[in-house]
Symmetry: C2
Subunit: 425 residues, 2 copies
């Protein structure tokens, strides 16, 4: 026995989590602070609720007894009043005011909705289990699946999100190869999805839920609906969440967050869970942190109570709308002359999804990423957003974020991107 | 295929987490709000930093640009300045001001130190792996091990914490049965431990680290030092942390928290990690929440910068000191007449550990818990704090918390407890 020969042994999970290639790529870009980043999904700094937060915190801490309560531990599921408000809002918007047997006990508060997505995966998935996702989809979610040893399988998409026929085919195929019982969930981002900016129609939402129910054979298949971008709509009318088409009430898990619509520095997310998942998910959360910060939950509760949330969202929308318009105008100006370059025009969210000629690899194996950095901008290569299995990875794609930069910088970033594309064409 | 026949399948983890018996017991007690709880490890509400938090948040959000920065996402490891301050303090207190090759990059900020303990376990342990703990120890930690399928083995303790000879015996035994390579860590609470209130001497700390290093054969064995109660000292001098005796610099993981010394509602914890664990632990955290709330980190940073933290700790100590004295005086008055009832006199922390005659089972299988509730008080049965394996469970023990109740209520709670004990004797 010798100290020198002992080895740092990491868990299987740690090995699964190792070396997320996008981090390396991004850190390459971040060494130069003068670059225009159209990569990170950060939010617009100028429309962050500075005054609102000041006022609400002042108000919240004005009473000694209230302040003491807020500075104490809360419960694992979170502040009951905030949970009740969140449920009321969902019932109002999605269920025509009919609460049915939904209760605020089915609402849990977490550190951003990301922690809830993680807890859901911990609760539903064993290593080797499968989640069907759009191809492409939110890469942090598929990275999380990899981290716990689960599999993501990509389903084909159109302008309306996941294509039901493709979803059926994947189910059919997995049944044939004896893996139907490994499928635990379908994951969707139905509002202005990350990375494509596509919103699912209510009809499409209903079909996905119907398919999940129909294929629930021995094992219940859930639909995890990540509604992170719901409030970031810049055109058109809101669509009811998938909870509206969850007729049995135990198929859909809706997750939401104040990170995009209010402030990520507060990190309050939530979810509405089928009744049977409340206790298992709270058990997992109890083992991690016995509840997210009480202070932050009460801050958001008071923001809702004081009626300043909706007004703030309108400000946020106005700011992002200008930025989206700046990006689309710049794309029209600089990218449209380039043959084979195309992009989507989303009604909300934080991203524009672009497709380049098949011959251009936007990732580390191609020239474009480095050339773009030399020109002075960078983006997220689309390939990172494709699940490991299922529909093929499309390496000629990219995600362009318009959240952080000013309209002028967005225009300049797209101009530089056009130059870089021309360089490698 | 039928919707009706499908079954909610939970992960192996969920099954492992199920049915923590202490929750059931506590919820039985909590149905009556008039009971005097000497159970929960909550903190003293009267000494929570209401004015300090008001002032610091006001100051923190006064500048628009600063406020915007705070409301944005931070990094996964947390605010660099707060990490630097925490490291400086550790270097000052534990390393005679000699930083050596320690850097602030080795400090990570988490949602309380509990989240960090969880991330450490995720990073170091596979199902079936072993952590050696004091018997008894912090039951939330052993519950977390159970949740991820790992094993806790209890080591015998004395007035100075884990007994080195018992630790050696357990290593020896595990080597003999071929399980040495399953041992990943020794977990200790060296300051006023939960549940016994015992503090390890510096010499004992050094011996535990030496034993961990000596038994690190093929696999590196870490010492996880949970310093949650360090600031809650009411008598005697502070002792350097285990980092002071970590000569190789890669054996000890120190975790700390502002939950006890400042406010649990803020939920900021931290750790100082061996260099090789920084990236794996941040990878795990990145998969969960990409960093704890920025707002809360900056609140604590500013609390340290404004020099109000130490003054606040003195207030906290004064308040708890009175409560501890109330509990010990009540024990002298009401418990000392009872034959075979004994208790420890801690110098800090939140708990008094009591031992009853062998014949009295303090848990759900005995009569005392229900009789105490009928009398009007409740406590934590000590048996929940004993690891699943190793030293035998002692069912005639209890943990009495003095954190939440007033001195008068503490006295009354102990009086009622004495009555209950007399009832069952």
């Amino acid at each position: 026995m010798s100290v020198l020969s002992s080895e740092l042994v990491l868990s299987q999970r740690s090995l699964w989590a190792e070396g997320q290639p996008i981090s390396d790529l991004m850190s390459r870009a971040l060494t130069n602070p003068d670059l225009i980043s159209l990569a990170a999904g950060f939010v617009d700094p100028t429309s962050l609720p500075v005054e609102v937060t000041r006022d609400v915190l002042h108000d919240l801490l004005a009473s000694d007894s209230e302040a003491r309560r807020i500075l104490q531990y809360g419960t694992t599921a979170g502040d009951p009043l905030l949970r009740e408000y969140l449920l009321e809002e969902l019932v109002e918007r999605d269920l025509d005011g009919q609460r049915g047997d939904l209760s605020a006990e089915q609402v849990v508060l977490t550190a951003g909705s990301n922690q809830l997505l993680h807890l859901i995966c911990e609760t539903l998935l064993n290593p080797g289990d499968i989640v069907l996702c759009a191809s492409p989809t939110y890469f942090v979610f598929t990275g999380m699946l990899t981290n716990i040893g689960a599999r993501s399988i990509g389903v084909a998409v159109d302008d309306d999100g996941i294509i039901p026929e493709s979803l059926e085919e994947h189910f059919e195929h997995l049944r044939r190869v004896g893996e139907l019982d490994r499928i635990a969930a379908i994951y969707v981002v139905p509002y202005f999805d990350n990375p494509r900016g596509v919103t699912m129609s209510l009809e499409r939402r209903a079909r996905v839920v119907e398919i999940a129910n129909r294929w629930s054979s021995r094992r219940k298949i859930h639909v995890i609906s990540d509604d992170a971008y719901r409030e970031l709509r810049y055109a058109g009318e809101d669509i009811p969440s998938m909870k509206a088409v969850d007729e049995t009430g135990d198929t859909v898990i809706v997750t939401g967050t104040f990170s995009k619509s209010y402030a990520p520095g507060v990190r309050v997310g939530w979810g509405v869970l089928p009744r049977g998942l409340v206790e298992p998910i709270c058990n997992q959360k109890g083992n991690v942190d016995f509840g997210s910060p009480h202070l932050n939950q009460h801050l958001m509760r008071r923001v809702l109570e004081m009626g300043v949330y909706r007004a703030h969202i309108e400000q946020v929308r106005a700011s992002y709308r200008r930025k989206l318009e700046a990006m689309l105008a710049a794309a029209d100006e600089f990218l449209s002359p380039l043959a084979g370059v195309d992009w989507r025009r989303p009604n909300g969210g934080l991203y524009v999804w672009a497709e380049l000629p098949e011959s251009i690899d936007t990732g580390p194996a191609g020239r474009l990423f480095d050339v773009a950095i030399q020109r002075g901008m960078f983006y997220v290569p689309g390939q990172y957003a494709f699940p490991a299995e299922g529909e093929p990875v499309r390496r000629n794609t990219m995600r362009l974020s318009f959240g952080v930069q000013t309209p002028d910088n967005i225009r300049e970033g797209i101009r530089l991107l056009a130059e870089a594309i021309r360089d490698v064409m």
